[in-house]
Amino acid sequence: MCQILLIDDMQPVRHAIAATLRKAGHEVVETDDGNKGLEIVSKKQFDLVITDIMMPASDGTDVVYALKSAKAGPKVIAMSGGGAGIPAKEALQLSTSQADAVLKKPFTNEDLIETVSGLTSN
């Protein structure tokens, strides 16, 4: 069982991911915005942060950067929607290279659970 913070601005997507994680026995805190997410992390200990990096309102790439710059932060999974036409292409590449794992949407529940347990079991 892990403590997971989930950041995604699309409520239905977030709901589905959280439901999948909870069913697998994890404890999930949800938020829809990168800045709120960082605030939550500063107050509570998490094993893992899963964040969308392409939220129009707040930049998920900043979240990855902030968390991975800290010394003993949680593991980070970056979720990307793929596709072209997203302006912050370099930022995106940077954050995917910094994250501990990347999940490309659309991913299956099995992909999600496998990636999470791969990062948190050892």
Binding site: I17, G83, G85, P106, N109
Partner: protein, 377 residues
Amino acid sequence: MQKQSDQGYQALETILGDSPDLLKSLLEGSPDTISLSDARQPDLPLTYVNPSFCETTGYGSEEALGRNCRFLQGEDTNQDDVSIIRKAIAERLPVDVVLLNYKKSGEPFINALRMAPIFDKSGDLSAFLGIQRDITKERLRTERDLAQNRLEALGTASGALAHQLNNLLHPITSLISLHLPDIADPAIRKDLEVSLYSARQAADLSNNLLGLSRGKFHDSSDVTMLPDGLIRAVELVRLMLPPTITLETDFETPAKDLRVPISETLFAQVIINIVTNAAQATKNIGIIRIELSEFEDSRVRISIADNGPGIPKTLRDKVFTPFYSSKKEKNGSGLGLSVVLQIINKVGGNIIVSDGLIQPDGDGIGCMFTIDLQKIT
């Protein structure tokens, strides 16, 4: 400024009066084609053509002089363009027209013609001046760039669309598959399986869109991977065709990652062009079969066959000349296949036209375009 240029003209006239050679040097050295018709003789015969005229049209001055310039026109010259010239001549007005002309060899070219009446000192019409320029190359280039931009825009738009679709589809597939195992009633489970299946199909479709956009049409790399690049191009063209067209594909290749020396954007443009032509040929209700094969160790062949009315053997070379189009369809620019051939030739490839699929009524045979490309080893 005004004063200076007036003075310039005066100086020019003085020099011209003194040195008739100047006019000759100007005309003979001009990269533009210059022609002069005598307005005092019936049917405006040409009385002067400069060397560039002969170079551009292929006609020697002895062949051109004494004839009306309409000998440059031909089968596919648009008569509306011609009547614009006719009207300007009747009204003694200058005119700019872009029209299709033909060289002596029969090769068509786009002629940007400027025609102007010339009046003598007493104000009488003495001649018509024609300045022509062959703008075929520029047109082809513009056309190619436009098509490329359209593809890139489509790629970007489909990427954005796919991204949104994925976000909408994720909760559907994820939540149904999450809860499906807990459903005890087999009938309900069956229903949910159907909706899960449909959502997954939609996600596949969306991923195809994404594959199209995922940088593929943006890269400047001059390499296309086959069959992947072909699969993407076919997915794209499928979206452009009415569902009444049947697309059959056979991309079975001995080797998997074939590489051909052409950027994927241009490659896609070629495929889309030929396939949409084929679809039109079948009046949008036929079969188009696309096959990929390797031959002679180092070459790759992509054939696109349709079961439309076909192209008579005598006309098969003609389809690649600019502006050739079966006259019925007025919407095409007429540049399609000539651009396609140009693109393929440029990368050292070739396109051959041959017999395609048997027509639905069994009477005739459609058309097949085979693209032959060198593969990168």
